[in-house]
């Protein structure tokens, strides 16, 4: 392959090697160069501060009139070095970091990471059933809250204001469930290596079932607003086209590849956390466009509700069952509890370690400060997040801290398809195409 002079990525040689400059202060030379060309070519910067770029995504557009001839994505504005940071924290502490990557799907980040750690420890089958049921239930609730943001903001960006109000109302109900169960609405670090941080509070199953009923009723409002709405369909049908061949080579997963007709859903083909025990359908569409991806998200809501109902049914018979592995050398010593001053170690536990048992105190201290050791090796664990395959490549050198963790973020890979979807289309359709990818920049940049 040949290298060519690129107006957006000039290179220069230094003692350290070739240095490329993508953004640089080269607008003047670019404008001069373009001014000499005969055709009407305009280069426009969209973002990084733009309300429809889902955070801080920068798109460099080359336009001929209203037609987009080239799209380049600029990312990295939200890079926080989470993968580097967790190399300096112990295996349990890392959950509080990874939960902040894709901030709309915190539980999936935790799940992918914890499944990887459990695989390295060889305790995948020792995770108690109740912990698995709670994980599945929380992930499906999270899928709903994430899809609600995708649908609400997607519609808002195309000019439909009402769905946003309904979607955020529904999301709020899900966040209330999260707060009720984990104490936090976002970034809850609830899934831990070996199980979950705390058992369900009293009355949880009733509350969950009531919320499911409520959500199922109110999802209809959204469907009525958008499904079949002629203005909405004109903005979305045939827009952002990406077929199966394109999606496969670009490594695109999630609703975008399911909109090409391929039922690629890890919950079905490579089940984890007991997904093989639930009845649900993989939703697909065959339109390869924004409308198909929208319909998939709408219809996945009902499938998530179905799974949650089955979880609630299982939870009824699991009252009092453990939610953390039995191995005391891995299990977090204390259950968390929500007290008058917020969430913390349960008072019973504090009474035990501070008042009655020196051995308990030592055990607590060792596990909390030192943590546990994970046998050396590497694994890849993947879960089906709302945006596609979220994989964690976890490497251990046998120590108490991760040696290297790399996340295969679905947003990162899916965002690459922006150029394929948008080049040749109208400017206004970029908004719809990007919204249908549903990238979360916290996940893209990590």
């Amino acid at each position: 392959m040949s290298t060519y002079a690129d107006p957006y990525a000039s290179s220069r040689e230094t003692t350290e090697g070739t240095v490329f400059s993508v953004t640089g202060g080269d607008w003047d030379s670019l404008v001069t160069e373009i001014g000499q060309a005969k055709e009407e070519r305009v280069v426009v910067n969209m973002g990084p501060q733009h309300p429809s770029t889902h955070g801080v995504l920068r798109l460099v557009l080359e336009l001929e009139g209203e037609t987009v001839t080239e799209v380049r994505c600029g990312i990295g504005y939200l890079h926080t070095g989470i993968e580097k940071n967790i190399e300096f924290r112990n295996w349990t502490q890392a959950t509080t970091f990874v939960t902040r990557m894709d901030y709309l799907a915190p539980l999936f980040n935790e799940a992918a990471y914890c499944l990887g750690v459990e695989k390295l420890l060889g305790i995948t089958n020792d995770v108690p059933e109740k912990a698995n049921v709670i994980r599945v239930m929380m992930m499906e609730f999270n899928r709903i809250s994430s899809h609600m943001v995708a649908l609400g903001t997607g519609a808002l960006e195309l000019g439909a204001l009402s769905p946003m109000i309904f979607c955020f109302r529904e999301r709020e109900k899900v966040l209330d469930i999260f707060e009720f169960i984990s104490g936090l609405r976002m970034n809850m670090a609830y899934i831990r290596p070996g199980g979950v941080a705390q058992d369900l509070p009293a009355g949880a199953v009733e509350k969950i079932l009531a919320t499911v009923k409520d959500l199922r009723h109110s999802f209809k409002d959204n469907e009525k607003l958008l499904v079949g709405n002629s203005i909405w369909m004109k903005r979305t049908e045939g827009i952002g086209y990406l077929d199966l061949a394109g999606a496969t080579t670009l490594g695109v997963t999630g609703p975008v590849i399911r909109a090409t007709g391929l039922p690629l859903d890890l919950r079905k083909i490579q089940p984890y956390s007991g997904y093989e025990n639930y009845k649900f359908d993989v939703v697909t569409a065959d339109t390869c466009d924004v409308y198909g991806r929208f319909l998939i998200r709408i219809n996945e809501l009902e499938q998530s509700l179905r799974i949650i109902e089955q979880c609630a049914e299982k939870l009824k018979s699991l009252e009092g069952a453990p939610v953390m592995v039995a191995d005391k050398k891995i299990a977090w010593p204390a259950q968390l509890a929500i007290g008058a001053d917020g969430m913390g170690n349960s008072l019973n536990h504090i009474r035990e370690i501070m008042g009655t048992s020196m051995e308990s105190l030592i055990h607590h201290f060792k596990l909390v400060t030192e943590g546990f050791r994970v046998p050396a090796g590497q694994v890849y664990s993947a879960v089906e997040s709302p945006r596609g395959e979220l994989g964690a490549h976890v490497v251990s050198d046998g120590g108490t801290r991760p040696y290297r963790v790399h996340f295969r973020e679905p947003s990162f890979n899916n965002l690459q398809s922006t150029s394929a979807m948008c080049e040749g289309s109208m400017v206004a359709d970029i908004i719809g195409a990007v919204a249908s990818i549903d990238p979360v920049m916290g996940g893209v940049d990590r």
Binding site: M1, G76, G251, G377, G398, G399, T400, R401, H406, R408
Partner: protein, 211 residues
């Protein structure tokens, strides 16, 4: 992987007098696996050997660990193997590239790890290529799986691995004029200490901690 690690607590040369710092921990090498590999791995290895006559020369070793198959491949042969895996063995999708830096693995310091998924056969395998720090070149797989484009840019950005033949190997997450490659082990985490009422909590990389 690296040799035994000495000392399980604290930074080297500190005043740790507990004796705990003298403990030695073996970081087991992952070695190579012998047949039968189990599961569908034998089938994958057989198919690859049949479709690719130079198998013995191109594959350095095969590791089956924790139910996952890793093929360690010579970098000169990476593109050939990748093409055969894609076209003959139906590994249609590359799920990305992750770099790992093993400073103690002499002349193989930088590893690039590719996660492949076969949708047709519902299989996963992993390719691993190791290159020395002084010559960090790996052929690009953008021509094989277009989605490798950003993944290779990220691995270049974070580790300094140069993917030859990549259409535009520029930094992707860090600023363009950034010095160094942050995910390498010789790149300090950084951070500043936090002072509160006279006591200072050092940044995480400078704390005495368990290894």
């Amino acid at each position: 992987m690296s040799d035994d690690q000495q000392g399980m607590f604290g930074a080297a040369g500190t005043g740790d007098t507990s004796g705990y710092g003298g403990l030695v921990r073996a970081t087991a090498a992952d070695g190579s696996s012998q047949r039968p590999f189990g599961g569908y791995f034998d089938q994958v290895a057989d198919d690859l050997e049949r479709a690719y006559p130079d198998f013995a020369d191109a594959i350095e070793r095969v590791v089956v660990d924790r139910g996952e198959l890793t093929l360690h491949i010579k970098r000169e042969r990476l593109v050939e193997v990748a093409l055969i895996l894609r076209d003959k063995l139906k590994f249609e999708m590359s799920m990305g590239v992750s770099g790992v830096h093993y400073p103690d693995d002499k002349n193989r310091e930088l590893h690039a790890v590719y996660h492949l998924l076969s949708v047709t056969n519902n299989q996963r395998i992993r390719l691993e290529v190791s290159v020395p720090d002084i010559d960090p070149h790996i052929p690009s797989l953008v021509e094989v799986w277009g989605g490798s484009n950003w993944n290779e840019r990220e691995t270049f950005d974070m580790f300094g691995i140069i993917f030859d033949g990549h259409p535009g190997l520029t930094r992707i997450l860090m600023p363009d004029d950034w010095q160094g490659h942050p995910q390498r082990k010789d790149y300090a985490l950084g951070g500043i200490g936090v002072e509160y009422k006279g006591a200072v909590t050092p940044p995480p990389s400078d704390r005495r901690s368990y290894k």
